[in-house]
Structure formats: C-alpha cells, structure tokens
Symmetry: C2
Subunit: 433 residues, 2 copies
C-alpha cells in the first residue's frame, strides 16, 4: 500500500459490506478518545465514517499511530467493515493499516461549525473553507446541476458550442466591459455569447454554451459578480414561447435531479427542494406593475422591475414565474417587438425567489429591422457589420435565453449570498484567491 | 403554421415514416428543375432530404412558390413522407405547404464544394462557412466529444468545477499572459486552472473543468491558438500512473462514441475512427531520444521533443502513446521528481498523430519541496503565498493532466489546421469575427 487509492467513498460503505475489506482515503474530522478505544471520524468529499481502534485488538502499529493523529491529517486506511447499530450510517471500519500521507497544522478557520466565521474570512482562506461538509455538498450539487442542464438540452436537440471570450466589439452597446491587451490591440472580455449564438442558429440551429461571462459593473450586492457562469441557448425556427418551454424543462430537470441525488443530505441543513410544475405562471410586465402598485410599489411604465418588486411578486406566488412582454426600449437591440404592438417585446424574465434567474426573447431576424433597432439605441450599425452580414443569407427566426448558473444555485440551495455558491468569486474588490 | 417548428430532423425522416405528415425546417441546398417536376434539396444541421414538387399534383401555391425559391432561402415545409427507391436515403417528401421564412442573397463563399475557398476567406465569413455540411458535422462531433469526456469522468468520481479566468499571478511563472484591466488593478487571463485544481484536491478530491485558457504567445502555427478550450482534471490520493489510466479511458470513450454516432457520416469524407486499445504504449523520454537519434534526429538531453520528433515517433507507432519521465527541469515547478532519481519526473505527455494532446504529472504535495522547486526556477515563493498556505493543512498527494480539446479534435477528424475545428478562432492576427 505504498500509494493507496480508495476502493470506496465513505458514503458507499454500507452495512451490506459487513466483513469486507475496504481502502478509504480522506481527512481526520475528529477523534474521540475513550482510553482503550478510539473513534476516528474520517471525512472524504462524500461524507464521514467512523474508524474504531481498540487497544489490544488493533495491530500495535495502528494503535500507536492513533496517539499522534491530529484533525485534518490526510490519511489512507485499510480496514474491515462491520455493520453496527450505534455507529453513524450503521457501519464502522476496523483499520488494519493507517497511513498518514500529510500532517495538518491547526486550521486558520473553523470548519466544524463550533465557531461562526464571517464570509470575508472564509473566502480569504477559501481552499480551507471548502473542506466544510456544506461546501462539499454545494459544489457536488453544482456539478449535478450542470449535468442535468446539459442532458435536458441534448434531449431537445441542442449541441454544446464554445465561442470566444476575447472580442472586439461590445454585444449590447454601452455596457461596461473589461479591457484586454491583445498583442497590439485593445480588446474586451465578452459579457455574453449573444451575437455568436444568434449567428450559429443559421447553421447549427440549436446551440448551448455554459461558459464564463464578464461585466465590469461596480455592483456591490449579494447577487452580482464580475465573473460568472452563463448558461446560454439559442434556437432557430423558434420564438420566445418555444424557448420558455425549454427553460421550464431545464429548471424542472435540475430540481428533480438535485432532489433525487441530494435530498437526504440537504435535509440535514434544512434545505428542501420543491419541484415546480409546468407550465410556470406567466404574468405580463403590465400586470406585474399593477400588482406591485396595489402592494404600494409604484413603477413608471418603461422602467425595469426593481429587486424589491421581484421579491414582492415571489412572495405572492411562492413559485417560479415568468414576467413577459417587457417594454421594447428596456431590452437589448436584438429583441423582437410584438407585431401587434411594437412598444412591447416578445421577451421574458424567469424569476425565482425574488431573483432574476434567466432572461430571453424572440430575436429580430430581419436585417433592416435590426439596423433600425441599433440606431434607435444610439449604436452605430457599422460596428456590427460582420454580424449584420449574416442576416443577408437566410437568417431564420430564432429565440433564446441566458441564465445565471450561480443565481440558480443560490435560490435552489437557499443561500443569501452568491459568493457562497462560487468556488473563488470575483467581485469589485476580490481578485484572489 | 404561422410559426412552424420542425417535427423531425432530416436524418430522422426514414422509409418507416411512409405516409406520415412531417414538418421540416432548414435551407434550400439545391433545386433541380425537370420542367413539370422540381426536386428541392432541403438541408438542416443533420442532413439533406429531397422535396418533390409536381405540377398539377402539388397545391398550386406550392408549385408557384417553387418558381422563386433560391439556394439558401430559409424555409419551413409541411409534407407527406414517401419511401422511395431512387431518392437519397430512401425517402422523399411531398410538400403540402412551403413557407419562405427568410430569403438569401448569393453567398460570398461557396459552400457546395464546387469551388475551393481558402481558409482565411472562410474564417472571414465563418458564420456562412459553417453552413457547409462538413462543418456542421465537425461541431456536432465536438459536442459529442465533450459529452463523452464528461460522462467518463463522472463515472470515475470526478465532479465539474468552474475556476476564475481572471487571476492576479501567473500559474507557471514566466509564461506570456494577456493583461486585463480589472477596475483599478492589472490582472491576467488564466493560462490554466492548475493551482486552483490542485488546491481543490484538498476538499473536492476529484475535479475536472472544461473551460477557456489563454496564452499570449506569438506562435503562428497550424496547431496553436491564443484562446483554446482546456480539459483539466486533478485527483487526490493518486499519482501519474493513476491519471494516465483516467486519460486512456477518456480517449477511448471519445473514439468509441464518435465512431458509434458518426461513422457513416465521417466515412463520406474518408475519415475512419480507429479505436485505440488500453493500455497505450509508454516510452520514456530517454527511449524517445534514443529512437529519434537512430532516425537521425539528435536532441540534447534536457531539451523538449520537437514537433518533428513527435511526428517521427507517431509514424513509427501509428497509435496513441505516452512519453513519460521527462527531465524535471523541463516541466513546471509543481511536477513531482522521481524519488529514485530526482533529475527525472513523474510526468507524461500523450501524443497522437504527431501532436502533443495532453500533458500531466504527479504533483509535489510537500510545502518545502514546492518552495524549493519555485526557487530553482527563479520564482519568488512570496508570490505564491495563498497557494502555499493550503499545503499546511493535510494536502494529499495528487496528480492530474490538461488536454487541448481542439488538438484532440484535429487528430480525431484528421484536420491539418486547428482553426478548422474552432468556431471562431483567436490567433496572433485574428480577433474577429
């Protein structure tokens, strides 16, 4: 056992393995010393298991080694599983070998939950903070969420694409972008794959991308970051209603998957996954304004629904819902106006738990209309020449949406701060670790 | 049918659907006019199908509309499937409705294969170039490749992570990085997730990431780009041999999946997928130098194996192979030296078709050794303080690799230029589209 590899994750050591030998690897979570018997709790990414070491029963080397074991030492263990009525998860392991592969000093922050550490300090020591079981859970959930998203999209005929994040022009015009020095030229970090994914509908028809996006905005809130993961789809020969249907399927598959895989673990933290039903409630922008007005929040027609408005509506509905038909001028230039009333647009936001999770629309697919929409917003069509060119060659009607992965995780896992669901967040003042 | 949505992709319209009504969407690939009968070839992302329109049989509106149809017009079609011995794929469709959803001008480049267009021009009009069936195939393969990679990694206990691409320090020291203006500070675009993924082994144990990576190198070759997709894994309690085994599984699953899904389509372009067998051949760096010396290529011990050396070796083996045990000084600071001979390292490159596809190693997990390795390379350990801190707290032995997704696609699909397998490539002189 010069280089031990685990045969089982802790969670997979079940009473059915009684009498079997296993190899486990992980960290010493805690040690309980009862004199002639020691209980060592071994933590790995998936859980915690009890190792039982009895003086005179365990090999002498194992017994003496346990005297010097410390919390968070990385260890590899060979041992025999015993079903047990009293131990955690109904099993304990009697080690025949324990190898200390790396000692640990006393941690700079508490990971056991006896002392609360503020978020700033936790983020400063993020790689240590991630040893906390709740964090291991959050990021296992995140991986399962992207997996569910992709599988739902494959099932609906979407393929995954990769578009460049270094670009020459701003997607939406005036938004704030980070500048990159690209050899001799100034370039920008993409705020979204918007124009690329639209162009791709003219060939690949249904595309999605899960990739970083960048906004150089000076926000300092609990739900904005300057680098985030954007889930984007775009579909040819489709309108906003079609892609809202795709979005519903994506959200439901995420909730179902997370509930199926993690409901027991989440319950320990009081997190319950309530699976929404299809179709989600849909209210128009005008209806939202009326409802908010009755609740005492006046919003001028043409202004966006502010965060406290979304919260009031979420309180009222207590389930995911769409706001549809936003004023055309409120949305980006590529948003298609309603044929019947061009002041409003074939657009939608998905709101969950008071947060805008996703945003989408039917897009303009007629070149002259697109040029007109650019001009109306003070943008120069000449800067979009290579994009506009594509519209000359059979550009199909198309629609799509972008969703903030971290926001979805926030509401799914009921975290107050988006930084809790990001491994190494980037905000106005945080650029490391 | 004001807003038609396809019921079938062209490839799914098979003789078994004889007599059934379908809705198809796509583009007019070609029109063959036989006087009283017109054959319209309709292309979508998945293939091409024949629409048959007979004067006096088709509705009058359909017949008259076909008079003005042009190549690459975007259309939606409702029609009845007929099994046919002579038509392509054994079926034709008799349209009852045809809707032109967008007209096309004459294309700026040929997509039919009658005229060769040089790569530069094709990339200039990339969104049009992507309408070529070979390109639609390449990017459907790409999507399937990332899907196979992820499924293999999930199956081996890896979870997907997202690490920041805006960073403060260089991963490997002296490499050339793109500078980003991050508010008041200068920052860089990450050349790899190396240090983050290593830190994550101390909590999440087995992680992978598929994300953009950046190198500000002034290469101008057929196999380098300045922005590329890097597939990265890192595994706790594992060494280089363990992760080579993971890499073999990943490669084999990719070849198997692509062969299963696309072998017929690829055969049309003369592309055959030869599935490699496990374990891949492994030669040491010293053996590689000896073999190349016998072939007349002298390489000084300590220098990297140049491209023409990799080509000679690939010619000899004609299958994927590993070069292992590179000189320690040739590799990045985190590479673990062999205990038995610290001049050489527990490192490997995977070579396929004369190209370095992936590169990995066991990593140093002992803080003092890591500090020493930094110093030996002229790097200041103080610049790595927050990274080194993690090594104080039970840092497990670990190993991993990084793989260039586009290079894998190049060799898989036998493309000579990496730009062929990238939607919108970024190189020394190309920043748009």
């Amino acid at each position: 056992m010069s280089f031990p590899r685990k045969t089982h994750w802790t969670k997979d050591v079940t009473p059915e393995l009684d009498g079997k030998e296993v190899i486990l690897t992980g960290w010493v979570w805690d040690i309980r010393d009862l004199g002639n018997i020691k209980f060592i709790l071994l933590r790995d990414r998936e859980g915690i298991i009890q190792l039982t070491v009895k003086k005179g029963v365990a090999p002498e080397g194992v017994w003496s080694l346990t005297q010097s074991l410390g919390r968070e030492d990385a260890i590899a263990v060979k041992g025999v599983v015993k079903a047990s009525k009293i131990a955690r998860a109904g099993v304990e392991v009697f080690p025949s070998e324990i190898h200390v592969v790396a000692k640990s000093k006393a941690l700079p922050i508490d990971i056991w939950g006896s002392v609360e550490t503020d978020l700033d300090t936790r983020l400063k020591y993020r790689s240590i903070d991630l040893k906390r079981p709740i964090n291991s859970l959050i990021f296992r959930v995140e991986s399962e969420v992207t997996r569910a998203i992709r599988e739902t999209l494959y099932g609906r005929g979407f393929i995954e694409v990769f578009t460049p994040k270094i670009i020459v022009t701003s997607t939406e015009g005036g938004a704030e972008l980070f500048t990159v020095q690209y050899f001799e030229r100034a370039a920008y970090l993409a705020q979204s794959p918007q124009l690329y994914k639209e162009e791709l509908t003219a060939s690949l028809e249904r595309v999605f991308e899960i990739a970083p996006a960048y906004r150089a905005e000076k926000h300092n809130t609990n739900y904005h970051l300057n680098e985030f993961i954007s889930v984007d789809i775009e579909e040819a020969f489709a309108n906003y209603m079609d892609v809202m249907d795709v979005l519903e399927d994506v959200i439901i598959s995420v909730y179902e998957r997370v509930n199926k895989v993690f409901s027991n673990e989440l319950a320990k933290y009081g997190i319950e996954i309530k699976i929404p039903k299809k179709p989600f409630r849909r209210i128009t922008y005008d209806e939202a304004l009326d409802m908010l007005s009755r609740r005492g929040l006046k919003i001028n027609w043409g202004d966006d629904v502010p965060k406290n408005g979304l919260e009031l509506l979420s309180e009222e509905f207590n389930e995911p819902f769409f706001i549809i038909h936003f004023p055309t001028d409120l949305r980006a230039f590529y948003t298609k106006p309603l044929d019947s009333d061009p002041k409003i647009s074939e657009s939608f936001d998905l709101v969950i738990g008071g947060l805008e999770i996703a945003s989408g629309s039917s897009r303009i697919h007629i070149k002259e209309q697109l040029i007109e929409a650019l001009r109306k917003r003070g943008l120069n069509p000449e800067n979009f020449e290579s994009h506009l060119m594509v519209y000359d060659y059979g550009m199909p009607p198309h629609a799509g949406w972008g969703m903030g992965l971290y926001r979805l995780l926030m509401v799914l896992l009921k975290r107050d701060n988006i930084r809790e669901v990001v491994l190494y967040p980037r905000d106005r003042f945080r650029l490391e670790p």
